[in-house]
């Protein structure tokens, strides 16, 4: 528990929720990132432009925070190339098949009390916990 950051995580979560409310209030859209990326593939005109605007701005988020706070967030991607490819394919396939991810089902869907989203979150959380358990404590270490 050396890196426990409940307040920063709570505040960050509130901002993510606020972003979802802004997109909902302005454009009547749900801020599910997998849905926004998936919907941009093959889209044209307005459908494409608002999605690209959201994704470009999302990309600038860490840079904006670095400017505000004066320190760049350090991240560590430890997966090797093969795992990155397999994991990415599964995330892309699974989110389109299941109609959402941590933001679409996890934040927007749960906030709308969608039964589909509540079930999806239960499933992907349990599978993610199990995946980390197996990779860190059974096969890896």
């Amino acid at each position: 528990m050396a890196h426990f950051t409940p307040w920063a995580s709570l505040f960050g979560g509130i901002l993510i929720g606020l972003a979802a409310v802004i997109l909902f209030a302005g454009n009547g859209r749900l801020a599910g990132v997998s849905g926004i990326i998936g919907g941009a593939l093959g889209a044209r005109g307005r459908e494409l432009y608002w999605r690209l605007a959201f994704l470009l701005s999302l990309l600038l988020g860490p840079l904006a925070w670095t400017t505000i706070s004066g320190s760049e967030p350090a991240i560590a991607i430890t997966a090797d190339r093969g795992i990155l490819v397999v994991g990415g394919l599964l995330v892309g396939l699974g989110t389109q098949m299941g109609g959402g991810c941590t933001s679409g089902h996890g934040i927007c869907g749960m906030a709308r009390l969608s039964l589909r989203s509540i079930v999806a979150v239960g499933v992907f959380m349990v599978v993610a916990f199990a995946t980390v358990f197996v990779s860190r404590h059974v096969v890896g270490g």
């Binding site: 950051t5 409940p6 307040w7 920063a8 505040f11 960050g12 979560g13 509130i14 901002l15 929720g17 972003a19 979802a20 997109l23 909902f24 302005g26 454009n27 009547g28 859209r29 801020a31 990326i37 593939l41 307005r46 999605r51 959201f54 701005s57 999302l58 990309l59 988020g61 860490p62 904006a64 991240i75 560590a76 991607i77 997966a79 795992i83 990155l84 994991g87 990415g88 394919l89 599964l90 995330v91 892309g92 699974g94 389109q96 109609g99 933001s103 934040i107 927007c108 749960m110 009390l113 969608s114 589909r116 499933v123 992907f124 599978v127 993610a128 199990a130 358990f133 860190r136 404590h137």
Partner: protein, 140 residues
């Protein structure tokens, strides 16, 4: 134009939120998912803050008949639980657990650790296109 500006503001707030919360860092995400190890429960607070804020906000906004810059709100959530939902969520959970990146952080990682993030993001897009082909062939 106002629709684009709204998307820009929402994306920026979302990206800053992801950064402050720690969700952008796969090491922190995997620490949250590793209950049997040196468990860091911080990221449960991200979902708590996000869901409560969106729950209240959606209800306040929903009193309007329509969004500010668009003709309609999304349809009410449908409650069908089917194999596609369960299998999709399970595959997503597997991929998320292997790498520690879900779609939002996969985007922000492009500026934070661009080499591995590019490989991951490109694979996500390919996975999405694969689903599109499967769905098209099965006539969905």
């Amino acid at each position: 134009m106002r629709e684009i500006v709204t998307a820009l503001v929402a994306g920026l707030v979302f990206g800053i939120g992801l950064t402050i919360s720690g969700m952008v860092d796969p090491a922190k995400v995997l620490g949250f998912l590793d209950i049997a190890g040196d468990w860091d429960p911080s990221l449960a607070f991200v979902m708590l803050g996000g869901v409560v804020t969106a729950f209240v906000g959606f209800r306040l906004v929903g009193r309007r008949t329509m969004p500010l810059f668009a003709p309609a709100f999304p349809a009410e959530p449908d409650n069908t639980i089917d194999g596609r939902l369960l299998a999709g969520a399970a595959l997503f959970g597997l991929g998320w657990g292997l790498v520690g990146l879900c779609p939002g952080p996969a985007v922000t990682a492009l500026v934070l650790d661009s080499h591995p993030a590019t490989i991951f993001f490109a694979s996500v897009v390919v996975g999405m296109l694969v689903w599109r082909q499967i769905a098209k062939r099965s006539g969905q």
